[in-house]
């Protein structure tokens, strides 16, 4: 039998109130995210087309670099371009969530100082912004993968909602954590791009699984411990019909819960002090 103490119950209900307040402000989060997306390209000639063009150009650059110049690692992957862009689009979602999460509080200091609202709105809006861009890039995946690699949308697409959901929860945790850290430690903004670069090379994106399977066991273990590994496996299952080790589903759930728990709890506990640091 378990007992719930009064203070535990108070804490639980405080969280319930917090989530309810957050939910009541969902329209604000949406407008903030869409406003930022629009504003970013408001003065460009192509405007919202950049949602599509950005991932396309990103894929193009990486394809030239790792498909032709440093082509040694692509060995053993028949559909290298599809492999590459599915990985890059998913990775960009995570890295954007981290960078814009880190900025979300600092860029909105005026809001924080003037208005009382659950501060999680800001990292959530940053994540929505990144997520909309990601979904747009997923939309063009087959536009590239079909003609080049002959990969067509198939039944395995039923895995996509699960992949996106778990990956999004994971990213939300990261966005909250970087947002919380960036308020007292602005240095984070300088560190994140380098961490992200390293993280990308440690994730199966520019190299196929055959590359790592040829490596020592410890190296494989390191790669498997990478939290992004299971999400990549899920996306490759959903988009390319690749085989999926069920372990990766559990790992994806595990990392989402860990990131979300650590990120959101540390963020919310720090909320009351944020204004003092702005």
């Amino acid at each position: 039998m378990s007992t719930v103490t009064a203070s535990d119950r108070a804490r639980l209900s405080a969280w319930r109130v917090y989530v309810r307040d957050l939910w009541e402000r969902r329209e604000f989060a949406w407008f903030l995210a869409m406003g930022n997306l629009k504003a970013r390209n408001a003065s460009t000639a192509l405007g919202l087309f950049w949602w599509i063009l950005n991932p396309l150009m990103l894929a193009g650059v990486y394809y030239i670099v790792f498909g032709f110049i440093f082509s040694g690692t692509r060995e053993g992957e028949p559909a290298f371009l599809a492999w590459l862009i599915s990985g890059i689009f998913a990775f960009t979602y995570t890295s954007t969530a981290m960078t814009s999460g880190a900025n979300s509080i600092l860029a909105n200091s005026k809001l924080l100082v003037n208005i009382r609202f659950p501060r999680m709105i800001l990292p959530v809006a940053a994540l929505v912004e990144a997520g909309v861009g990601f979904l747009a890039s997923l939309g063009i995946f087959y536009v590239i993968a079909w003609p080049v690699n002959g990969i067509r949308p198939g039944l395995s697409l039923v895995w996509l909602p699960l992949a996106v959901t778990l990956h999004t929860l994971f990213n939300l945790g990261l966005a909250a954590a970087t947002a919380r850290l960036a308020v007292p430690f602005r240095d984070i903004n300088n560190i994140i791009p380098h961490l992200n670069r390293l993280w990308m090379y440690l994730t199966p994106i520019i190299w196929p699984m055959a590359f790592i399977e040829a490596k020592a066991q410890w190296a494989q273990n390191v790669i498997q411990a990478n939290p992004l590994f299971p999400y990549m496996a899920l996306y490759r299952k959903a988009l390319m019909g690749r085989e999926l080790d069920p372990l990766n589903i559990w790992l994806a759930i595990f990392w989402a819960v860990v990131a979300l728990g650590v990120g959101v709890i540390s963020f919310v506990r720090f909320e009351g002090n944020m204004v003092r640091h702005l």
């Binding site: 407008f31 629009k38 504003a39 003065s43 430690f185 003092r276």
Partner: protein, 246 residues
């Protein structure tokens, strides 16, 4: 039920600027300087109460703690000591154009500003035409905000704030930028708010406006309450102190 709109008791706010100077990792894990040395006491033992329907002026020199006090009243900053009770729906106008995005149109910014202040989307839609009309910006509403003049920006921001239906309005030196007609219009709306038993806290360096508009005034001096009373009385004492210091 009390007829207090705001009850402030023994409020103290301290800053530790060494923590606020964008500390680096090295500074924060390295040896710390003694805390007391650099502490800034922005507010100390501040107590006062504001009645419903009252226009309450707060005056004081630069750095006296007026903006800090309004942040505490807006409950965006937790005081280190003391308690604050606020009865009513607060609308804050500590700065102009909170929640606005300069790249977007005035139209879009009305939505952003309204939602930021806690309105529902449907509520913003209902009030949209009134907000535009009140601001007198029908002709410019689809232009990006960055093309607005300072006064146009202020009109839009003030109009949004007045349409939030606040019971309590917190103003920090925001009427200074509008032109004369807009100033008159804003003062008129603020009087209407007072007539509906609303409450206004008004921070300003314009002593004549405080004298003309407020029912009571508080003089904040280096984080402490120096005097509370009729505006003319408080302003005279403040003026006397300023001229004797010169």
């Amino acid at each position: 039920m009390s007829d207090h709109a705001i009850l402030v008791k023994d409020v103290g706010v301290r800053f530790r600027p060494y923590l606020d100077r964008n500390p680096t990792f090295r500074r924060s894990i390295g040896k710390r300087e003694p805390r007391v040395a650099e502490e800034v006491i922005a507010l100390a033992d501040v107590s006062f109460e504001i009645e419903k329907g009252e226009a309450y002026g707060i005056i004081g020199h630069n750095g006296a703690g007026k903006s800090t006090l309004l942040r505490v009243l807006a409950r965006t900053m937790r005081p280190n000591t003391g308690t604050v009770e606020v009865h009513g729906r607060t609308s804050t106008l500590l700065q102009l154009g909170v929640g606005f995005n300069n790249e977007l149109s005035g139209r879009r910014n009305i939505y952003l500003g309204g939602l930021a202040h806690g309105l529902r989307l449907a509520e913003v839609e209902d009030r949209f035409d009134d907000i535009v009309e009140y601001a007198g910006l029908e002709h410019a509403i689809d232009r990006p905000l960055k093309t607005y003049s300072t006064g146009m920006f202020a009109r839009l921001a003030f109009s949004v704030s007045m349409h939030l239906d606040p019971n309590i309005l917190l103003l920090d030196e925001v009427l200074a930028v509008g032109d004369e007609s807009f100033r008159e219009k804003s003062l008129h709306s603020m009087r209407e708010l007072l007539a509906r038993a609303g409450t206004i806290v008004f921070v300003s360096h314009s002593l004549s406006t405080v004298e003309e508009f407020c029912d009571r005034a508080l003089w904040l001096d280096r984080g402490q309450v120096r005097l509370v009373g009729a505006p003319s009385e408080v302003i005279d004492a403040y003026r006397a102190a300023v001229s004797s210091a010169e």
